[in-house]
Point group: C2
Chain length 1005, copies 2
């Protein structure tokens, strides 16, 4: 197929040359250095740091409502160590010397006004009136339009509805005018070019449904449909065209589904388009699928093909999540795909109308030649470019192709700034065609050559990839569930069903490689349905604990001397077992503790991470380190496991934390007596199968669920226990510390207590926070898994000047999510872990209501209530100060206190005002405040512009101090040391005055 296009290359290139010739000497206004925008672009292209700062500054600008705030940010963003504000920013300010406050004010005004001017270049208007006016002007110039409303970042249903209203408003405004318009490119009639509706709008579907999520394709498509349908009806009423934009990959499936539903529902109305992105590796298949669908359904379709605007985002997200990169990584590959997909569409022009959206003259020429070659009628394809971008291209296009439509965003400057940043990026990226053409003035032949040739040249010039290192590779986190993959979505219900087929079995203890049954058992139940028993778990008493400690002590004598690498290999095998059984393991926790799918998958993934990470850590630490380089002696520092470890685990990360503590002990050479929480003992029993599969010797791991009141103290006090690894509440943690410090008769080793305890975590909302992200981040931190994470946000500290805006959006967002059983992926929040947890949370809800003013108190439906599930209301209260109990005590449930701070000083003071120091977060776009938080927001894990939850092994090594823990970081580089005693062996290698000299001796130079 590529050869076919290749055969057109001479024509394509000839047409391209012609195109270039027709616009010779012209340059897009953004590159005009005579104007401010051009200067800024020029600087940004030359100076990567400035570019980052500039774009970030543009992003935050709409939030800078006071002169003081604007000044401060200019200072923070642009005053480096050696420079003052770059000259380019001052451009246009009066030439008087900068100094006094007045002058600064003038400067600020200039900068703001310059940036707003820049934004207006790309935005056709801020109001519907302005938009209509702008459109009219365009049409007068011979261009058609497609209108897009800015502000797609909706965090609540209220906002989604408002977005709908925005569209309806502008459509109304157009409706009033459209009758007066003359067609473009046609002498008469009400169709542009004789065939195209004059009214044309684009919609970004996720904006219409704030609860969109990839795991719930049906619900998402449904939610989008409900709000877009009124718009579409209005468009149809006006005889217009609507195009459904494609956003980031995660919404692709729902978007296509939405298109199909709308297209099917209004089968007779042909003017509905959808966008595909050539940068997706799947583009050929995507296009093919839709055309096949159209033929099958006999429904004509319309495709706008773009290169794709989220390349950075898709790539970073994939890398961050450990997913395969879904987009082409070499720019020419996107260009190739664009030509390929264009050809496919044009070959099907009978059923598929085509809008070619590109500024790339090679791509455009290619489409023209393919269309000509195929004899595609002119009414079956058109060209689109962005308003305000690449004016010479649009002019050239109009000359040659005539049918040019401009994509026109309109709306407030606030969301407009985000749009502006995207456009600026597109203009300044090194591989951008626009930059190469107009800023770099690259060789025309290169610009017009077949992208396949460009690619070949790029790959040849690329250094050969490094060979992979031998043996066990670098650690990387296990990928998160990618719910854009249908198989991933289907796996959960299937696994749940499998588990249910064998639910409620008796779970024995596991000691010294053998199952041990006890008469005392404890039932573990589904918190969404307490009648559903997950397992009937045998409970260890004193004698079982003694037996387990004894066999563990015995196992210690050999296990400690197994080479670290061999111990590590057992962990890697265990990790493989978890990977192989991930869905089944998720199913258990979905039912036993009420985790949502993604939460359950993240828990198992974290367990895998612990195994993979600690295995590597032990290999690292297992290598004796030479100490000093004195000749004549060889000194080695190495480590020995301390002894038997009692691992006392919580239920909230029932697999991850258990596996983390247990595997750390085991890989360090310390056999384990493991006591899971009673609430999650069936999940905990998964460790038995895991270690069996990994081939761990008998006695090294012993599964001992039991009632804390019966065997807890006994286990902690046992003289043959050397380590107690505990994660749970402060009360229990401190009790363990106290008891463990008492040396018992016969005890050989001072006990080490690794206690990870509670948190009372805060998120600070700075007055320049990006609320689109902050609202979602706070909501997720506070209510994800019902707030039952030690890292959960239970206090949000909001700066006074943004308080109202934030609270409104937060409240609306909280009111928008769905509540119900976690096993249904549409639900955002489910029941808490068990009846006791429910009662405890309800007590705190009461306290919260007494101490503050309720903003949100959302309960599940009465139907759900009637199931007897352990539901508690999602609660947000305001008016809380640091003296309140609800601001100081850990709730471990979905109760969020809102606290108001007059400035960052007070916010930090409040944030640091509890006994805990576990996690925290701040949303801010002030470099100085972020830096300040980095230093002064004193918690174990602090997140800047990220939620306070979701710590990943290694990347976010987890743990706090003060009363949150002993200052240890699980999943961090110092963690294993806690299970180890260091040993040093120094050999005198000199005999009779003769010492062999080693390569790394500090010898004569």
């Amino acid at each position: 197929m590529s050869t076919e296009i290749h055969s057109l290359d001479p024509k394509i290139i000839a047409r391209g040359r012609e195109f270039f010739a027709s616009i010779s000497g012209e340059s897009p206004s953004v590159f005009n250095k005579g104007w401010w925008t051009g200067k800024v672009m020029d600087w940004a292209m030359k100076n990567e740091d400035f570019k980052v700062q500039m774009f970030r500054f543009v992003d935050v600008l709409p939030y800078l409502n006071t002169s003081e705030s604007l000044s401060r940010h200019i200072e923070e963003y642009f005053s480096g160590d050696d420079s003052n504000i770059p000259d380019v920013l001052k451009w246009g300010a009066t030439k008087t010397k900068i100094g006094g406050g007045l002058v600064a004010k003038v400067l600020n005004k200039t900068i703001r006004s310059n940036i707003e001017t820049m934004a207006r270049q790309f935005i056709i208007g801020q109001t519907s009136k302005e938009a209509v006016k702008g459109i009219k002007k365009l049409r007068k110039d011979g261009f058609t339009f497609v209108l897009d409303l800015l502000g797609e970042a909706t965090v609540s249903e209220v906002e989604s509805q408002a977005y709908v209203d925005g569209y309806l408003e502008v459509l109304d405004a157009i409706h009033k005018e459209v009758g007066k318009w003359k067609p473009v490119g046609a002498s008469s009639g009400d169709m542009d070019w004789g065939h195209a509706p004059m009214v044309n709008v684009a919609v970004k579907p996720s904006a219409f449904y704030s609860q969109s999520k990839p795991v719930d394709v049906d619900g998402t498509a449904q939610g989008m449909m409900e709000r877009i349908e009124p718009i579409y009806r209005k468009v149809m009423e006006m005889g217009g065209f609507m195009c459904i934009d494609m956003e980031s990959l995660k919404y692709k499936e729902a978007t296509v589904e939405l298109y199909k539903r709308l297209r099917t529902k209004y089968a007779d109305y042909p003017h509905l388009g959808i966008v595909y992105q050539a940068y997706l590796r799947s583009v050929d298949e995507d296009v093919r699928d839709l055309i096949d669908w159209a033929r099958e359904k006999e429904l004509p379709v319309s495709i706008r093909l773009v290169k794709g605007a989220y390349w950075d985002f898709e790539t970073v997200i994939a890398k961050q999540n450990g997913w395969p990169i879904p987009v082409w990584v070499n720019k020419p590959e996107s260009d190739m795909a664009f030509e390929r997909a264009s050809k496919t569409i044009l070959e099907n022009s009978d059923i598929c109308h085509y809008a070619c959206a590109s500024h790339n003259i090679r791509s455009i020429s290619s489409v023209m030649e393919i269309a000509t070659e195929l004899g595609v009628p002119e009414d079956r394809y058109e060209f689109q470019v962005l308003y305000g971008m690449a004016e010479p291209v649009r002019k050239g296009l109009k000359n040659v192709a005539k049918r040019v439509r401009l994509y026109c965003p309109y709306g407030d400057l606030l969301p407009g700034m985000a749009y502006l940043v995207r456009r600026l990026l597109e203009n300044t990226a090194n591989e951008s065609f626009l930059k190469q053409t107009f800023a770099d003035e690259a060789d025309m032949d290169r610009l017009l050559e077949n992208p396949e040739d460009t690619l070949r040249r790029q790959l040849e010039n690329k250094p050969a990839p490094k060979l992979k290192a031998e043996g066990i590779g670098k650690f990387s986190n296990h990928p998160f569930a990618d719910f854009t993959i249908p198989e991933e979505r289907d796996a959960y219900p299937a696994a749940i069903e499998r588990f249910r087929s064998n639910i409620g079995r008796k779970v024995p203890l596991f000691i010294n490689g053998k199952e041990v049954e006890t008469s005392d058992t404890l039932d573990s139940y589904n918190p969404a349905n307490p009648n559903e028993v997950i397992g009937s778990v045998c409970q260890a008493g004193i004698s079982e604990v003694d037996q387990a400690v004894e066999v563990a002590s015995e196992a210690y004598l050999s296990w400690r001397d197994v080479p670290p690498k061999e111990r590590a290999e057992v962990l890697l095998k265990a990790a493989q077992y978890l990977k192989d059984n991930i869905y089944d393991l998720c199913a258990v926790q979905i039912l036993e503790v009420g985790k949502q799918w993604d939460q359950a998958q993240a828990d198992v993934a974290e367990a895998i991470d612990f195994l993979e990470y600690y295995a590597r850590e032990m290999i690292r630490l297992g290598d004796p380190r030479r100490m000093g380089n004195a000749p004549g002696e060889m000194s080695h520092l190495f480590y020995q496991g301390k002894g038997v470890a009692a691992v006392i685990a919580p239920w909230n990360f029932p697999l991850a934390i258990s596996v983390g503590m247990v595997s750390a002990a085991i890989v360090a050479g310390c056999p384990v007596v493991y006591k899971p929480s009673g609430i999650s003992s069936v999940v905990g029993n998964g460790l038995v199968d895991m270690w069996k599969a990994a081939g761990l010797p008998d006695g090294v791991f012993n599964y001992c669920p039991g009632r804390g009141s019966v065997m807890g103290d006994h286990l902690v006090d046992h003289p043959d226990v050397s380590i107690i690894a505990f994660t749970g509440s402060m009360e229990v943690g401190l009790r363990i510390q106290e008891r463990a410090a008492v040396v018992q008769p016969g005890q050989q080793q001072c006990k080490k207590v690794i206690a990870e305890m509670g948190g009372k975590n805060a998120i600070i909302i700075d007055d320049d926070a990006d609320l689109d992200e902050a609202v979602i981040g706070v909501l997720y931190s506070a209510f994800g898994f019902q707030g039952q994470k030690c890292s959960a946000c239970s206090r949000v500290i909001v700066l006074d000047s943004i308080y109202d805006r934030f609270i409104k959006r937060l409240t609306e967002a909280a009111e928008s999510v769905k509540l119900g059983p976690s096993e249904n992926p549409a639900n955002y929040m489910g029941p808490v872990a068990d009846r006791a947890a429910q009662e405890n949370v309800l007590r705190y809800v009461k306290i919260a209501e007494e101490e503050g003013t309720v903003l949100v108190k959302r309960e599940v439906s009465d139907d759900l209530k009637a199931t007897g599930g352990c539901y508690v209301p999602m609660t947000i209260v305001e008016g809380i100060t640091k003296e309140h109990r609800i601001a100081q005590e850990e709730v471990f449930g979905p109760v969020l206190s809102v606290m108001r701070a007059k400035d960052m000083d007070e916010a930090l003071d409040i944030a640091n005002s509890t006994r805990f120091a576990l996690t925290g977060a701040i949303y801010s776009r002030s470099p100085a405040n972020l830096e300040r938080a980095y230093k002064e927001f004193r918690v174990g894990n602090l997140y800047l512009n990220k939620p306070s939850v979701g710590a990943l092994v290694e990347r976010h090594a987890f743990g706090g101090f003060k009363m949150s823990g002993v200052g240890s970081k699980s999943g961090g580089p110092d963690y294993l040391l806690q299970f180890l005693d260091p040993r040093l062996v120094c050999e005198n290698t000199m005999r009779r005055g003769f010492a062999p000299i080693e390569d790394d001796d500090d010898w004569l130079n």
Copy 2:
């Protein structure tokens, strides 16, 4: 001067060529590959690993008295992973296949016999009878001799005396024969060559006085003199010549002193020589000084000039101790120095007789030509070579120079093996003239060229030394006192005198930068003289402690945020203060706790090391570590000081351990309340001056001596104390742990207890241990600083088959040392720390006497007893088993239990049988047993063929586990972590889908 020799070069080279021509085709027998020795040498030169193993095997061979033991060692030394015993070793064994036990026996026999034959090549006889016979044969061949008795490694006065007796015996034997001898090189008379005494002996002076030590030049020279004098008198009686050999550098000064005393005392008898070593950088000065002395005293002298045989040893020791390297590091420099010094001597031939001792034909030719040029009479110089070495050289020498004397060792093969190793090394060293001449067959021109030219070429070919890194360099330990330097020796008494001039002053507390006096004071006294009050130390009570904790808490708020590098710089300044005041600081502890000079210096040096090391460690840890490489986020792990540290320090390393714990806390950002021991509070007060000098802010360090009973618990319990760093007894340590685990009202942080507690350390003596080193090592480990080290050896576990030999030597060695006040450097052991320590040790001496059989119980003289000093007897008891209290309880004094073990299994079982696991050592030359100890001798610090004491910062990072401590290593890489809470800050760097990509991001490849 070099040019003068250069002007002789043509003649020297001509003579050298003549020399070479006269021995053309001949080769020393050691290089004869037709024989076993030659084969082994060949292998050793080609294979460095084999060389090391071979020489070590030769070294241990005399100890392998059973066939089993021999077999085992052959196996251990020579069976690597891929090879069996090298063929070369089997040479000479019957050609039947190796396999059965009988064949192995034959092989063993062959190997032993081959090695003994090799040894006999270099040793003229094993008995005086053989020696005399050998001498006669040599003389018949026209060579004169100088006789040397092997076995210079004496560890006790009994052995030193036996060594004297050996000399007297051989002299007697010669005396009986000498009358019958005809002169060599003369037709008549009783002088060889007409002028040289026929009897000629060499003595190694340190062997004659087991208590030789560089710090005590006078005592050492005196001790040597007392034993050598009878030999010299006998030599004089026989009209013979005696030469005092030069050994390692540390005895040089005493040796020269000995020579001068003997030479002066017997002024009329001229036949006394001394050896100088050309490899010493000081050789020109050494030779010049003696000649000047001879002229001044008008006493003719005789010098034998050698290159020097301890080059490896001197270099390694200097490197290990941090001293400047005292020898030339480039071989040609020694050759140059040899020629220079020869010239100096020959220029003074009127007063200095010269013996040129070298196998280097260039050196010999040079001496000949210089002598000829200067017209030195033949009776004023002669040539010496080693018996059994370089036969062609001795032959050639005899041809050209006639007057050739052979240096003839005689004596048992046991010490002979050590001698053999030295000779083998000399023959196989890459730079050895013999190897180059006869094995490598290097170019004659190169061998004969002026060494200055050789050096120039070598330096030109050497890679340029690496430039030093910027900033603070790599850590290295502070040099130990080098008592070969007179100024070093003089500095101690001077400092003690200075301190005494101001002794007994009142010592105030130091809180928040201010001195605080209390009414309660405690006198600290000199344990050698309790009437001497060192200082009257103010004692903190509850209110002072509260005040100190309060100011420290206040200081914490700012100090924790001082950048780590700045905190580190304060430590480096403190280190500089200690370096500048080292003698004064030593003086205090010599008087306050009874440290010997070297012990005191080592303590201050260790304090310096802690400061230098922790400073660098904090800089290392202070650098935030990026965690993971995910694009779009920047995750940093860094550390924050935990809070206020209470440092409770012991008196035994009164400066080092105090400074170590205090500086670790301070550099980590934790202000300190420091409670020194009452016994060493004046030393502890040194920290006040140190931190003042370093510019530490007020409140960060607070000096709070006080009575434990009054303020100890209060300090530990204080809610605002976050760390307790304690070094001391197990009882107190465990008490602190218990109390600290109780969270007090208002407490913000879980307390961290760093407890370094007791030890009951063992040294294992394997049946093949080098007893020369083991006896001295055990003695030093057990009785150094009166056994008052937590690392001190209090159990020596001796394998059955070496038990008697070891115990005899140990006992004799213990009886040989001197006891008395530590301030006199001649004394090996002084008083214990105070009256309470004395009483405690005496109690344990009684227990030891009851449980075991006393081998040694040495008390100080009655005179010393009468001073009231806190003396206790040096005690060694045998018959101790692991059930005895004396085998289990820490004594903290000079009481050593001897325990017998039937084999290594039992030895390790005994070693590991206590509650403690601090230090240990093993003396063994069995690679397998060393490896086993490495793994199974489970203590914090294990030393192989080294004493169990004397841990150095970094190189021997120190600390134990079980009841010896919490498993922390002071002076090690994990130490500072204990004072720190880790913090992680993760920034989401993506905004609006755009993330700046960092160099170290895991980005597209």
